[in-house]
Symmetry: C2
Subunit: 587 residues, 2 copies
């Protein structure tokens, strides 16, 4: 099934939901107008649809291989990656001074969605490179920036994040990899890192590993971690890759999904590393970078959801089975005419578009926050990132599963393709911090720390949208009613959290994931509601497209079918902590 990038909706989200007025007012973006951005995304869409999407099934079938210490990429990946570099796509959102295109983050999010919808295994390589670029931009020395940024932004080199070790997953304080200071200012890095995405491959001239490690005299725990650049090939004075560093790929994992993305076990044996920033600040730097990576994983979820939806929609139009329940035809009809098939498709579509809407909004907030213009935007951006990661990744698993269901028995057959999305999606709520870790971040850093101020601001902004909906037409009022109920559930749960977070921290954390899902679902519904208002405005102005009427239909469906889940989450949080914490697990 071919992939049709949803450029119209991506542009709609950028225009109406990404705070485009504020973003585009920035000096650095002044040369781009929406039509330029539309042209860029159309070009990117064509590349994704034509060059990358066809790789997805073959890559899944063959998988990345590992022979004699070397990773082999499935057929077609090298050629496609070379085209990706040639087109300069890695550069999209990065600064002009290092060869980047300098586009806003919301455009970058649209690109990440399309690339990962086309092939999530392929998309992971540039995603990790983006993370490394981000880290170097924020914390690298001028010399490090000069050495590494240009080839990374060009896509000639790729980047990795090396956090996990067998005993240190969510708990990075347990990282044991050692970093010994050498006389020349470099460090000797030794240890084993696991789950390193694109830790070894032959797509690029060099691989730049960013590695968390511990100097001999560092404090125990997370405050004793430092971050190092460990190039796979050491860089010559002229900037080209030279001698190999002592980093070896021991094996790659046999995974449920994203099978064309090599997940490496890397052994560092006194490998040469270069400290980034200051010693013992590694985790702090990682967190800066992780925010961007977490956001991108949420966007991957939107991509997988969109792809699963398109595949299911095509099948539902094509597959003829059974007469309509209302008896209007004596013949069997395409299954899309059956109410429950429509229900599943609308659920898939509204979850996907809801995620896209909140991601576009968050990308705008991140852009504005990044430049420090507005502390309110900064706080909201920070608040939204775990919501995007949590909602879009968990919902991607749900949407991909629904996509299998639409196909009936065919969905269980690997050749159909629906099952691949179900397998690929499953990593999303796990990597870059599990959903529980996102929820801890939301509760600990984004909610308790400021006493709920940002969370209340979030609710105030939603109430403002409700006010606009209340003075519009019947659909908008119906959307507003459901939105207000969900916001009410959020505020009640928030009060309870703030209260219990002080008195009974276990009870608060027993509701952390329900709270994250409540807030994420509310955020998606809110942004869809804003989109519906924008669509109605355009319709009122005489534009009359099915696209616009369906933006309203999707928002209405979401608010009536998905938003009611917020009340259930509220009940779990406020009424369910004792039954959870008092239960025991007998041996």
């Amino acid at each position: 099934m071919s992939y049709q990038p949803p450029v119209q909706d991506l542009m709609f989200c950028i225009e109406h939901l990404s705070h485009w007025d504020k973003v585009s007012a920035r000096e650095q973006y002044s040369e781009f107008d929406l039509s330029d951005i539309g042209a860029v995304l159309e070009g990117y869409a064509q590349f994704c649809a034509e060059q990358i999407a066809p790789l997805s099934h073959v890559g899944d079938t063959l998988g990345a291989g590992f022979q004699k210490g070397r990773v082999t990429m499935p057929e077609g990946h090298s050629r496609a990656y070379a085209q990706f570099v040639e087109m300069g796509w890695q550069a999209l959102t990065h600064p002009l001074e290092y060869g980047g295109t300098g586009l806003p983050r919301a455009v970058g999010a649209a690109a990440v969605e399309m690339l990962n919808a086309a092939d999530m295994s392929f998309g992971l390589c540039p995603l990790l490179t983006d993370g490394a670029i981000e880290a170097l931009l924020l914390t690298g020395s001028d010399e490090q920036k000069a050495t590494y940024l240009e080839p990374l932004i060009a896509g000639r080199w790729s980047g990795t994040m090396n956090l996990t070790e067998p005993q240190a997953g969510s708990d990075l304080g347990r990282v044991a990899t050692k970093a010994l200071r050498r006389g020349d200012g470099s460090y000797g890095i030794s240890g084993t890192k696991i789950f390193i995405t694109y830790g070894a491959h032959d797509l690029t001239e060099n691989i730049i590993h960013l590695v968390l490690a511990r100097t001999p005299d560092a404090p125990a725990g997370p405050k004793g971690l430092s971050l190092f650049i460990v190039p796979q090939k050491l860089v010559e004075p002229d900037g080209t890759p030279g001698a190999g560093n002592s980093v070896n790929c021991l094996s790659i994992e046999h995974k449920l999904g994203v099978r064309a993305s090599p997940t490496a076990v890397l052994e560092y044996d006194d490998a040469t590393g270069f400290l980034i920033g200051n010693e013992n600040c590694g985790l702090e730097y990682m967190f800066i970078m992780m925010n961007a990576a977490r956001f991108s994983v949420g966007v991957q979820g939107i991509g997988i959801s969109e792809r699963a939806y398109q595949r299911a929609l095509a099948y539902a139009r094509d597959r003829i089975q059974s007469r309509p329940v209302n008896g209007r035809s004596r013949d069997a009809v395409p299954i899309i005419d059956h109410p429950d098939v429509r229900r599943i498709l609308m659920r898939m579509r509204s979850l996907t578009e809801g995620g896209r809407a909140m991601a576009a909004a968050t990308a705008g907030l991140l852009d504005i926050a990044h430049h420090g213009d507005d502390p309110e935007f900064g706080a909201l951006a920070e608040f939204m990132v775990p919501l995007v990661k949590g909602f879009c990744s968990e919902r991607a698993v749900e949407v991909a599963s629904l996509g299998v269901q639409i196909h009936g028995g065919m969905g269980f057959i690997e050749e159909t393709g629906a099952a691949q999305h179900y397998r690929d999606a499953r990593i999303l709520p796990i990597y870059e911090g599990t959903t529980a870790i996102q929820a801890n971040d939301l509760l600990g850093r984004k909610l308790m720390r400021d006493g709920g101020a940002t969370a209340r601001l979030f609710a105030v902004r939603i109430a403002e949208t409700e006010a606009k909906l209340a003075s519009s037409d019947a659909n908008a009022r119906a959307i507003g009613t459901s939105l207000a109920q969900a916001r009410g559930a959020f505020e009640a749960a928030l009060d309870w959290m703030l209260d219990n977070g002080r008195r009974d921290i276990d009870a608060a954390f027993a509701g952390s994931v329900p709270f994250l899902m409540l807030a994420g679902t509310l955020a998606a519904g809110w942004k869809l509601a804003k989109g519906a208002l924008a669509a109605q405005t355009a319709l009122d102005a005489g534009q009359n497209t099915q696209f616009l009427t369906q933006k309203i239909a999707t928002a209405l469906f979401f608010t009536q079918h998905i938003l009611p889940e917020c009340t259930t989450e509220q009940t779990r949080i406020m009424n369910g902590s004792r039954s959870l914490l008092d239960a025991a697990f007998p041996e």
Copy 2:
């Protein structure tokens, strides 16, 4: 990870939830007391844990093979199947007169759960054989029973169900396989059947295919289907398998899960078939048999859920990561000590035990209904079957997915085993009728047809349990409060369904799956609540085991965390039909 069959809970469900007083009062079961049954289940448990569970991972890794027109089973399956036959396990619930053991259905359900928890791929072969036995018992001629039942019940032969064709999945009216009458009373069967579970294999001496086909003069659509016995090897007068029939396996499918279970494409080329019952009644016979098969698929879901839960629980106890949020330890703790991990584990456990409780109750109803003693039990049994299939299969997908989540990154690695459950479980809401088909059955046959009488009886029975809970202790009262709310949601949705089912059938069917899930969730919560009352009675009588206190804890968790979903489903049903039906899918 080894599998520990939950015999204690299975026996608890049989004793307290399977209407044991009524079932055991039957003449045919008078020789079995609970301790006999406990001994049988302990023996079966040992077989499943020791002989079958170790096959699961290797079977998944190797898969069933297909070479030169023959299916090859993965290593160990032949030997294990031979032991299964030797132990006589296929005979468990079948009539004494054909060599069966004659145990009640609730015992059979416990056995099906354990076998499928041990290895669902293996469990499918006996499950299909059970279906064929059931069909022959109910609709076969005396001669057919004499020929086929003894070797099937002994497990020396296996059975299959041949319904699906490429154009006929959910819509069996489109079946095109032909059956031409021959002079000798047999029929020549020609056509292609797909998705035939264990359609070809070498575990048994013979395979008895039950095939839906159409005689030349039959009416079009579902009312022109007849059911045929097509033995893979024709049976000699002495009852032994003789010459091969003209049934060929063209290929087997490459599937997402249950990979050791061969799913065959079978070509019938003027194969010799024998009519079961009357011509054109095939679908009716299939439906009788399908009820049993659907129930069993629900039970498979409980098995997968239990296995996924056990694996996740073991990992959560073993894996040490991060300090507790409440600061009670400065050291990292097993992750089972983190509130969100407990939340996920309790969700898995309560969904699993909820499914088991409702399955045991339904098995009891089916037994009593089967003997026609009590029309009320018959109607309730019919009502419960789609609930068991719908709830337990959909929840198995959820539970298996949560099991992956507990494992973090390790869950995505195939060697860990959690991913296999996630893959295996995905077929459950699809085969033997998708969840939408179950919901149509519930709405059309079990609800509209009797004007909601059985559904109201179901609610009355729940209210009776609430009354008992209300006069018990604080936990019971809390369970009762949540149960009453969920029952209220059910009754409101029921009224709406009955009203709209007459006026606006599309709107009713737009809510069919939400209604099925509402009713299924309510049924599971109800049976857990009944179990909690029984546990409290036992505790009051001086038995004091952690098992009993945890039965109450599980019920309380379910009612506070899962039952609130009923209200969301009610909202979707009653408030969501227009937004669903009015949405369009632009080309």
